[in-house]
Amino acid sequence: MLKTQEYTLNFGPQHPATHGVFQVILTLDGEKIVKAEPICGYLHRGIEKLAEARTYTQVIPYTDRMDYLAAMLQNLGYVQAVEKLMEIEVPERAEYLRVITGELSRLTSHVLGTGVYALDIGAFTGFLVCFREREKMMDLLEELTGSRMTLSYARIGGVADDAPEGWLDKVDQLMDAMPGYIDEYNGLITGNEIFQARTKFVGQLSPETAVNYSLSGPVLRGSGVNYDLRKNMPYGIYDRFDFEVPLGTNGDCFDRFYCRVREMEQSVRIIKQAVEQIREVDGPVMGKAPKVLKPPKGDVYHEIESSKGIIGYYVVSDGSNKPYRVHVRRPSFVNLGYLDEMVRGYLIADLVAILGSIDIVLGEVDC
């Protein structure tokens, strides 16, 4: 009597397609996945605990180290939470700079996500072509903040520094060129028959499940749920910009991927508008924040739309100069929650495609 036997495969933590040190223990029947058990925590550094022993300003660099691909958005979530707690007014110019750097961060993250997804599917050239533009954006960020990835640019009450001379023109120039580059990605990656065959109708996610599992970001919008905090609960000055929220229809890997690509176009639009408007705004980039920050007793929750989804900061203050507790709702971690059910019945190759389409950053998953 012939019978098949299931076997276990340790997919990671040392594996080229897990985007970092992440393990999935797979139970396989041939190449078909019967069960997938994600195990994270290999990169846990205890950022939330570390924050309790730092002053409010000193926490900012730690937020960089979570989603290091879109560091400005991590900074922004935290500083806006503290500003909300202390009711600090942020000057106009700082708000615009925050939007520009934030959207640039989102672009770098999405460009990388696009490229890495191509690599996951097996197209190496897509990966390197995307890196080309990422490099240009990182040069711009470096010129402004002095750092390429871990920016630490936002400050409680404003931003660290004003833009150097000519920087805004450079941003404008790159944003003019960006739609052409995005077309190039579409030609090379999105339009490819094999790529579409690999990603369409793979790992489908219904809108109800996506909402029930509190997924967010392109993963949620790929399923067709129109929820983007920049539109639904505008924070900062996002209500001043004209942009659309791209949505998917099938909720498959392709939609999640393509949402990201189209979001890049929208980010470019936002940056162009912000650059145009900031030229008329003069003034300081730091608000009237005290040197020693001692927020009143109480707690605050503030969430913003990061590149991976909704990042929320819960900050509790006991009135001293250090936060009593900081908790972060990390979108990568929450989005990963549905992985097991999503990959069951698919092949190993599809696991890579699905995991890649969620676009996780292990620094954020493990915090």
């Binding site: 599917i121 097996g122 190496f124 050239t125 190759a349």
Partner: protein
Amino acid sequence: MLENLFVGIAHWLRALLGGTGILPVEITESIVFLVKLVAVLIFILLNALWLVYMERKVAAYMQARIGPNRVGPKGLLQTTCDIGKLISKEIIIPKNVDLVVFLLAPVLIFVPTLMVFAVIPLGKNMAALDLNIGLFYLLAIASVSSLFFWMAGWSSNSKYSLVGSMRVVAQMVSYELPLILSLLGVIMITGSLNMSAIIDAQTKVWFIFTQPIAFLIYFIAAVAETNRTPFCLVEGESEIIAGPYTEYGGMAFAMFFLAEYANIMVICAVTTIVFLGGWHAPFEAFAIGGAHVFTWIPSWVWFFLKMYALIFVVMWFRWTFPRIRVDQLMGFGWKVLVPLALANIFVTGIGIYIYKAIGW
């Protein structure tokens, strides 16, 4: 002079050895034969080295990079240095491997490739061995190589290797079929399995024009046979790390790596011979004032030009396409390529019949 460069060398060697009068004819012939085989061997190994360099340059060109440019002029010695480094590395042998099979696999992987080259004519009168069943021999030997992948995967005693080698066997066996079927049309037209006869039949029109479908099927199946992108499921870096090669390190890994390039060379050489007129120059009859323009270039140069053009196409595939999934691969092979190849044989048969009936 250039045209008969290599043939001339062989004649000269034969004359030199025979001229002494000491050696009997049999020994002279076997020495000449040995020299031919060693020449082919060196040619393949040097070519594999060169192809690694070429691939890196082609990849760099497509990815807006420069590629290797430090070691030697234009980085030409890069692969040589890489191989030197790999030779000096320890070959790590994991616990619980089937030691004999594990160590034999990377050595044997080169054998079919080398054997195949014996019958490939690289220019006019330039086949080391002009077998009358050349094409049959070639297909038979080339199909053995899936065994060595399986040996590597099975003996490694690792799940990634096992999955990879199962894929390799499934893939190579399924793509062997359209590969052979696509060649049948050509064999029907020429009525011979001899490589030289197939090339001679293309003096006027290359088979790519009379058998375009067969050419496409053959080329696709051949790329799948060499496990190159978009059919690189065997390695499938982002899925199963390196498939059968996962547990190999140092030179053992490099052997698989070089064998892949040698295999590319084989399939491109065969495509050149069967579909692109082998060493024939295009428009051979074309002449200006009595001087033949294209045949002025030696036949072996033409052969290499065509072969490298095809190799470039294979590399172009690799740096453009994503990888297809294992079920899609099987579906494509069995549901598209095999029926298409059978239809091609059918149409070719009718064509030959009509051709004979009209008596053109």
